[in-house]
Amino acid sequence: MRMLEGEKVTKYFGGLAAVSEVDFYVEKGEIFGLIGPNGAGKTTLFNLISGAFTPKSGVIKFKDKKISGLKPYKICRMGMARTFQEVKIFTNMPAIQNVALGALFGTPKSLSPAKATKEAGELLDFVGFSVPQDVPAGGLTLVNQKRVEVARALATKADMVLLDELMAGLTPTETAEAMELVTRIRDRGVTVFMIEHVMKAIMGVCDRIMVLHHGEKIADGTPQEIAASKKVIEVYLGE
Amino acid sequence: MPESVITILDLAIGGLLLGAIYALIAMGLSLQYGVARVLNIAHGEFIMIGAFATYTLYTVFGINPLLTLVIVGPIIFVIGFLLHRTMFRRLSITAPTPDAYEASSLLATFGLLFIIQNLALIGWGATPRAYSYLNFGVNIGGAVFTANRLVILGFAVAIGVGFYLFLIRTRMGKAIRAAAQDAKTAGLMGVNINLVLAICFGLGAVLAAVAGTLMSMRISLTPTIGLNYTVISIIIIVLGGLGSIPGSFIGGFILGIIGTVVTYYNPSLSLAAYYFIFVMLLLVRPKGIFGK
């Protein structure tokens, strides 16, 4: 089943088309990748999907229900969560409370605070959080902050997560761990849609990939097809 | 001339006059908020000071109000310039984010409001004052219009045009327009941004004072009139689009014409009309006409 579908999704900022007539779909249980040069419109597309922006035209459907135009909190409760390029955590709250927040507010049916905290703890372990769980999130290293964000997204009992440049700023070891985490997330039954710049990561982990350039989709297919595509190579000028 | 045509002409002149005054005030605030990023809640107080200075110079020293324009203008400019240089500059340095700067500068101008208004109350007292200047009729084609209205309209338009030419033709004007678009980049491109911001603030204050001087010929003055004009100029800059100087110019005329027409039917309703427009704006199109 198609978990997420977008048809002719378009968004303008001023006179400029940030995203232009983009069609895409993500199958349930896939790891779907989104790549493209800076400014291609990748994060804008995520913002359109998660409800931060409303498309000018086009439709986005999640689990066959139209979500374009809905507020972010509604989309979250329907089962879609995301992380952000500039890690958005609650700096003055303990890590575990950050995650518990997702469990408290983002789930289709609300949880008790005790249960939410318990699940938060388990999720922090799942993502490989490596320091005491009550440390204020602002004092964490980047990789642990990203883990908190991912755990928070999972805490909402999401059926699909949007990961925006999870690997940005990570060391090679951390990147490998992150790749492995993405696979484990999928194995849990959560569909993954990820934006990445780190080619090795995305080629290694994704089932299918879509390429955006200047807001338009220029290619989509398996990693092999993308790697062989002349158009993509031109656009990236040999990454 | 038939009665109805005179009424229409009267309304037209009134609308243009009010529009021109509003345009001046709004452009002033737009310079301060759009470029220097200071929402000057004390803007109306500069209008009031301009008005009172004119009143005092005329009634005590017999100085022609139109001459006061050139006296008060530079003084207010220096005051506004120095205010920015000292107070707002310091606030922008200590603020952690641009939003924090907007908030703290807004609050600082709130404090200024109280200082200026109460100094005026101490100095001039609360009783309304007025003076009479060019208060005779001018006969144009059978219709009679008050001379000072025509003079105010003429001067307001002249100042507006002068300001426009300044923005378009001079180097400083171009620097200001660049800074209005993107202050940081303008600074990187070699514009002395601190100087430009301070100048903008000073110019904004001058436009207010000039409007006050012109208005003082026709209205009754108390030190509390400022707040009303501040709110009106805020509505105009939202209407025109926050940060857009041409927007505030056009917005000023729109509100001036609407205000004049509404006043013709019921004077107490004009402010209600402005607020109605404000609420509609926020509901339907918050970014206004030319907003980003």
Binding site: F105 | F114, V238
Partner: protein, 320 residues
Amino acid sequence: MDISVFGSRKLWVAGLALLILVALATLPFYGSLYMTILMTAILMYIIITVSWVIFSGPSGYLSLASAAFFGIGIYASAILLPTTGAVLPVLVVVLIAGALSFVVAVLVGFLTLRLRGIYFAIFTFGLVELIKQFLLFWEFEVTHTRGRYVLLVDSRTIFYIMLGIFVALILTAYFIRNSKFGLALRSIGENEEAAAHSGVNVTMVKVITFGISAVFMGAAGATIAMRWTYIDPYIAFNSLFSFLPVLMAIFGGLGQFYGPVIGAAIFAYLEETLLTKFPYYYMLIFGCVLVGTMLFMPFGFTGLIQKGWRRLIGGQHADA
């Protein structure tokens, strides 16, 4: 963390609070009339400040509407308690005032809280003027009166009502802090976009919090109006009450909870001495204090309010 130490600290604070409450409640019996009146004013300033902080602190939205809600409360008293004998019991009037303020706040909130903070600041600032002009128009055109005379209520009753509002406010703030709602509110202040994407209905939380903060301001206004003989739109809607809470909250950010309390005490005293004799000098000093405070704030405004909010309301964690 040693739990027993933590427990006894909580007990200590609760005990102190109870002591203060008892001391206040019995004030009219051992204190002079002047002290009762002064204390009423101090409580009023604290109520306005804490109400303001409840919303503007965590949300980061600068509200300049305090004078509007305060004024609505004052006018509710003016309309519902005419000199020709009270139609409604005094307490009911206060409740109505609070409810009215809530409704207005929620309307304004829905209109402006979905926009950028500057629109909110602008509109709340204009709201005071808007309501004032509307009432002036109403009185001029419709009722052909100017201002209203209020039934005077005795100072002791006024004091107890104000104390009641104060206690209700503190209890509300406590419950907000310890509830899921309070957590949502804090998350909005920390990072609104992350909160929205984590399932928090940010608009609803902001609007309701704004409404709650307005309730207490309206109630306080209705109460203090019973001490004034004559009310007109100029008296009721004074921008001073929009920036007073901001100023006192800024002091609160510097120190402990005592900041706003000390600030309130000073302002109340100044009001009693200066306001009637030299109103202009009073407001002039005010303006200078505000400007001076803004200039010499080491951390800038928002950070301070956030810190003040966390100190005021506390938290279940170590303060970063």
